[in-house]
Symmetry: C2
Subunit: 390 residues, 2 copies
């Protein structure tokens, strides 16, 4: 009797613990940054980078057929931290945690999900980011590369990820997905390795190339860095860094990702400080201005100015031949996106449909602008889950 009660109790407690653990797991997928090292990488531009290192995180299990992997690529100012928390105490989870995890749209119970830092990742000062770029020491000189780092494009980001997947033994991608610059990588992946990629999900992307208008905008983002005398043509490591220019560049990026709806809801015509009428002195600001200033300054603290310049260049270089794309496609623009408005996704969807690709399209109907492709991605959970199941 005692044994039976005990074993029943134990079984019940076990069940509760299992359920609780399942719950805890669903809420707090714990991830850690691994480091992938490539002794030497030759860029599309035929330059060599020795000792390439990029960080990545994974969740789920690779199946025996090694064909259940989904690669998630990050946006311009993003990192490999797409899902989960580094520790249960973290306040924020990864940027797409709403759709990645056990039982979520990108279900880590089914799929092995990988997300890596790109080459020239912006956030060189974030503790969990591992990247290689101008701020990295060139082993041949013992000094940071600075602007002597080879120009790299989205295709180079993809090639390094391909080497990582090779090392992990992944031969097929069930899907590659990403927001904004992550969409560029997803499309580039699909065109570069048509035999590897079965599906791609391009969220808030520009379609199959960066158009002239966006090339111009990327140049304007980079401009404040070049204008800051502390940039010193990229030679600032160990010296006074161009933080003012970098903060303004990141302010421009922040601004490009929002919308009039965002401005109306959060700020309207509110002043930055009570009693400091913007009509009374040039330096008196509106609330939206001081918020954008604060965002730029905060983001500059974890970023590197040269990496920013290399990232804008990589985005400008993006252009793939749609005829190389064979994978199933899902486009997810945001209705109010002013950076990559829905028309660009629709145009790419039409091009692919005409050549016979299977194409899904879902528009996030919010008014917050480009950034809603990250913060409101949960609204696209069902179309994404359905697409992955097709």
């Amino acid at each position: 009797m005692k044994r039976s009660i005990r074993s029943t109790l134990r079984a019940a407690v076990g069940l509760v613990l299992t359920v609780a653990a399942g719950f805890a797991f669903a809420q707090d997928l714990i991830v850690k940054t691994e480091v992938f090292t490539l002794p030497s990488y030759t860029t599309v531009g035929a330059q060599t980078i020795k000792g390439v290192r990029v960080g990545y995180q994974t969740a789920g299990q690779l199946n025996a057929a090694r064909d259940n992997a989904i690669l998630v690529c990050h946006f311009f100012s993003g990192t490999s931290h797409a899902f989960g928390k580094y520790s249960a105490e973290d306040k924020a989870a990864g940027y797409w945690d709403a759709i990645i995890g056990p039982g979520k749209a990108i279900d880590t119970n089914k799929y092995f999900v990988i997300s890596s830092d790109t080459l020239v990742n912006l956030n060189t000062r974030l503790p969990n980011v591992v990247t290689t770029g101008p701020a990295t020491v060139n082993p041949d000189t013992g000094k940071p590369w600075g602007m002597s780092f080879p120009v790299v494009g989205i295709r180079d980001f993809v090639n390094v990820q391909k080497a990582l997947l090779d090392q992990l033994g992944i031969k097929k991608l069930h899907a590659v997905a990403g927001a904004s610059m992550g969409a560029l990588q997803s499309v580039e992946w699909t065109a570069a390795y048509p035999d590897v990629v079965d599906r791609f999900i391009a969220v808030i992307g520009p379609g199959v190339e960066t158009d002239a208008y966006s090339v111009g905008m990327l140049d304007l983002w980079a401009m404040p860095i070049r204008l800051d005398p502390k940039w010193n043509k990229g030679d600032y490591y160990g010296k006074d860094e161009p933080l003012d220019g970098l903060a303004e560049a990141l302010k421009a990026v922040t601004f490009a990702a929002v919308s009039p709806g965002w401005g109306d809801k959060r700020f309207g015509r509110k002043w930055a400080k009570e009693g400091e009428d913007p009509g009374k002195a040039y330096g008196n600001l509106y609330a939206v201005e001081s918020a954008l200033n604060a965002a730029g300054a905060a983001r500059a603290k974890t970023s590197d100015a040269n990496h920013f310049l290399y990232l804008t260049k990589a985005n400008q270089l993006f252009a793939v031949d749609p005829q190389r794309i064979r994978a199933k496609a899902l486009f997810v623009p945001v209705a109010s996106d002013l950076l990559f408005p829905p028309v660009l996704s629709r145009r790419a969807a039409d091009t692919l449909r005409k050549q016979g690709n299977a194409v899904d399209y879902f528009e996030i109907p919010t008014d917050g602008g480009h950034i809603d492709g990250v913060t409101q991605i949960g609204l696209a959970a069902k179309p994404i889950a359905d697409f992955l199941a097709r």
Copy 2:
């Protein structure tokens, strides 16, 4: 017989000459800049500016009732040169010459048309521009005002124009019209002086106020100037001027006025220089980048950096109470405008209609962006002529 032949000939020649003159007049309306002087002007912010001078040009004749005047207000980087040529040899006529002149939509055979430079006009180095702002010598100190010039808003621009109209003996405006910042002035005029303005035409305007998003964008336009160490907090007169920052600011303005359609048609993914692949070196540019750089640099040569900062501030300060508006309204947005998209005009039109105003609306259907409200204004000639006749 001889006399009769002669007189017939003379009459015929006279007719030909009259027609030719009419033709020449229609093609080459010759205008000149007059100067309006106001001994002292007190700003909305209760500051005093002594010796205000602004340039203006006119065409047509004020009628006996003094009620056939139309005031045309210029855009951010514009001047009083809205119509005609300064001399028959000029290659380019004023920016809205397609709709202003004898027999045109704003018919100078019917209307007395005035266009004035604003306070803090950007183009301090253009020979025909007369303005008062930070680059002007403060009579009290004998030195340029610099950043000690009082903050001025669109309402101040309007108040100075009102003083000009008073001097010209104009008590009624048949209409006030303008593109972009000219639309801001037109709306401000209508709200400030509802008894004076019968009609307003707001082309590519933001409606009745500058929203938070646009406030943020204006700050980004001004940013490169503040970042240029030569700006020196506005104290650069007689020294090395902040031309790099000013050029970048004007590049940002140029960019804000165009569109993806503009980029596709003119540049696509063309390189700036043959043989200089943008993928090969950071400094190798796309054609769109070098074109924007050239535009910014060219415009910087005729502009003043502090005036630019004061202009952005004036635009940020714009907000009128639509309930003060009684005039008939015509809104003319451009379909592809990303700076002040049509939704803003439609919103303002709805607000005014709901309160009982007579509102016309015409959308210029082109894909070139904001600037088409200037360059393609001829497409709105009929809606404008019809509106003025109502």
